[in-house]
Symmetry: C2
Subunit: 506 residues, 2 copies
């Protein structure tokens, strides 16, 4: 075998990153394209990741005072039209329901029962939720309203990509209404910090946080804040956003209340969301040329036990030892929940099975065979170490060590991603450096290059437009931390108050 063939995934990251991404998803059995354009099927191994994300985020939302509710899938066209920037932003990618039944005609079924007003399948729910809040809010005593919705949304995509950009995707959208501007601003920032914490502590993603420039703002928002992750081709992925909507949507929907001083006022609203895009971000950030790598705190399966049963006479004893080890590990906890263990008893070769879980990203593999049985040991392999590394441990010691090893893996993934990000985040001061940074060395094979450039900007949309046209590079965020310093915008020569983060992005 050549060096190259030792990897489970082909092509490798350095060869063809987009195709490597598709192959990781296939090898880990996470999702696939359906025959419905842009709509994906999320398979059990991928959906279980989403369930873990939902569980942790839902807990964090409830701890910050939010409750869940559910609003209609369909939005009357007239609702969308109420906020000018909003409809402008979404009109070009809306699935539109125009009929409410099917009818046979010339032996074929055709749409029938035309609706008097077309309905849009929600691309996001500010307008339909705003209409409900307008019904509910009468007095300042009815505020704040702090709700979240777990739902599917649809944005027609011309160039879909599994998890990262799909016509239908799953997400949560928080929608809050407040008495004062200040309260709404605090809420916007609080939820951004929830996302930042979740990304760092669970997904092992050292995201940057900051504000979007006007051109990247959510349609209808006054301010959009985001968490931006760097993935292994050094591009950025916007992994979550929190919007301060001001009074735009409350004016459009009529969310009015009698204030403490008796005057009629419009509520201040926010919205914030993360989606199944987080799964794509996770994959691109942590996987390697052998497959997926699940950070332990978001993994639905922490440990897989692989009984090696070459001989019939020792098979029962090995299986029994594997099951008893599984039970002992399940009795231990990792961050407050039972460690999740699978035992794969299928009659397949040990190598085949082991590779399957490497590709599926299970943090810890334990092999136990007849020889281990005699010696009272099992072979432990960590997904973040080379696949050949095995540590033979006394079976009796293993359960008590699992949580610690999972924590080590979690920390190792975060440290690796942080180091990668820091290596590819550069303070660039001249236009030449900047353009060189984002121009592939070999134009025919644009392998991973560039990264995040921390570069001054004069605040002009024209500059953004020019850079985008030249390099497909945009401002990912105006970061909160460490970038406020006077300088010169290298594109315009004009003064700049702070550096911003520029990158290519998904």
């Amino acid at each position: 075998m050549s060096e190259k063939q030792k990897c489970a995934i082909s092509p490798q990251r350095a060869e063809d990153f987009p195709e490597w991404y598709q192959q990781i998803i296939r090898a880990a059995d996470l999702a696939e394209n359906s025959e419905v354009r842009g709509c994906m099927v999320i398979k059990p191994w991928g959906y279980a990741l989403w369930e873990r994300m939902q569980a942790e985020l839902d807990r964090m939302f409830k701890e910050t005072g939010h409750r869940n509710a559910y609003f209609p899938l369909f939005i009357p066209l007239s609702y969308l039209e109420k906020e000018a920037a909003h409809v402008e932003g979404f009109a070009k990618e809306c699935a539109v329901v125009t009929h409410h039944r099917l009818e046979a005609k010339d032996g074929k079924l055709v749409p029938s029962g035309e609706l008097t007003e077309p309905l849009v399948v929600r691309p996001t729910s500010e307008t339909i939720i705003g209409a409900a809040y307008a019904r509910w809010v009468k007095s300042w005593r009815d505020l704040p309203i702090l709700l979240n919705q777990w739902a599917n949304v649809v944005r027609w995509e011309m160039r879909p990509r599994l998890f990262l950009r799909t016509a239908e995707f799953l997400w949560q959208e928080g929608h809050t209404a407040h008495e004062t501007r200040e309260e709404a601003e605090i809420e916007t920032m609080k939820m951004l910090r929830v996302y930042e914490t979740f990304a760092r502590d669970f997904l092992a993603l050292p995201v940057l946080t900051g504000e979007k420039s006007e051109s990247e703002r959510f349609p209808g928002a006054l301010r959009t804040y985001c968490i931006e992750a760097m993935v292994q081709d050094r591009k950025a992925i916007q992994a979550g956003t929190s919007h301060f909507l001001g009074q735009n949507f409350s004016k459009a929907a009529g969310i009015q209340f009698q204030g403490r001083d008796g005057s009629l006022q419009h509520a201040w609203t926010t919205s914030w969301g993360v989606s199944t895009r987080l799964i794509g971000t996770l994959i691109m950030a942590h996987s390697d040329d052998d497959g997926l790598m699940m950070p332990p705190r978001i993994a639905h399966t922490h440990v897989v036990i692989l009984p090696i049963t070459p001989k019939e006479d020792s098979k029962a004893a090995v299986l029994e030892a594997a099951e008893s080890l599984a039970q002992a590990i399940r009795a231990t906890t990792f961050h407050g929940s039972a460690v999740s263990v699978e035992v794969d008893t299928r009659d397949l070769g040990g190598g085949v099975k082991s590779w399957e879980y490497i590709k599926k990203g299970v943090p810890i593999r334990l092999e136990i065979g007849p020889r281990d049985l005699a010696q009272g040991t099992a072979a432990l392999s960590r997904r973040d170490h080379p696949h050949k590394d095995k540590e033979f441990l006394p079976v009796a010691d293993i359960p008590s060590r699992i949580a610690g090893i999972l924590d080590e893996i979690q920390s190792a993934l975060l440290a690796r991603a942080t180091s990668f990000r820091d290596t590819h985040l550069r303070r660039l001061d001249t236009k030449e450096e900047f353009y060189a940074f984002f121009t592939p060395a070999n134009a025919e094979k644009p392998e991973a290059h560039g990264g995040f450039a921390l570069t001054h900007w004069n605040g002009s949309a024209a500059v953004e437009e020019q850079v985008k046209n030249d390099l497909k590079v945009t401002i990912r965020c105006i970061p909160f931390e460490g970038s406020a310093e006077p300088g010169v915008c290298p594109f315009s020569g004009e003064p700049s108050q702070q550096r911003v983060v520029w990158a290519k992005s998904y």
Copy 2:
């Protein structure tokens, strides 16, 4: 106050059951109609009930070997057409997407970008999931596939009713594929029993289980089994169904595999689902003229503590005692989870607050005021007892008693519903008795009447049709238990093998 005014809900059940139902939903703040025809907004208090149902059902599905996945919202029209009975059953109530963007025209937005093939918003997912299974299944080794999906579905409704019949609703749909007919039949029955157990043990609903007659079968199924609940106007609600689909959908979708004998075979499939309709069933089964009554095992809030603070000088001490009691109760468990406690510290009168939680159906209310503080007591009220009944208990004793009282309430609700069902389930042998049973005594005010009739049937669809036309009564199920005995069908005079359950239904 007159006797009548002592109830919180107007009208009362006996006066106008449908309107009472609407008022219960409003008083408990569970849901409301949106401006989108037939689509509801599920408010936090109602959605939390759905979250509890989801949590328990999801656990039961996983314990029976199922995993979750997610399939596209949109179904190509051609998929639906593949199974003749299926499309026949759903064509008249499909929301159809025909365009993928909006365009300005004469100052208005109109649908644009017409799709070459219209997409149907899923009314159920047999066809789109079948297409995926056809891709996944090659060999008998790929079977069984045991998946479930939590999703929204749309069936256009001309006469919507909150929770019971809405254009969009939330549900779970299990879809399984098997190697043999027998395995699929076992699965169908297993999941029916999961629903029956869930309904009885969590919702306190003593449902009847059985098979549907052909006319009430799921479009495309070989057999449909159901759980049927009786609610307080003595009508039936189909609360869950499990379908044995035979090979109909696998032939339509091409789910084929190489069998153990090498031959190419079609898989045997099942599907099964329950929906937010369960919330409507719960409301109609257990609520009274004072509001909702949540069975403790499905309640999201078990206990509410109402501090009574008439005087400023004792307020702090009362609030502190309330909070400390809440913490002590939260440290106890009810069926394996912490008891859920709310403390309502709002500055409202005790009566106003108490009535709010009566209407919202919280199982246990605890009032604590300055006098209680002095005596070391609190006043406990149970939602299933008259609202004036209060038991003064030593505060120190309360935490250890809560779980027991919750169990008592749960049992009381099940016993009450069982007794109600048994009282209104009659073995009727003549057509005259049967017609009298289902004919209101006062035709102008059709208050609750009738119930479930256990009556012989010759198996003829014509008889079903006649009874339906005459009385709006249908066969709710051919029950599994206690009804197989030879007899005479009173409608046709023909022999019958067993009694079936007839009722009016939602």
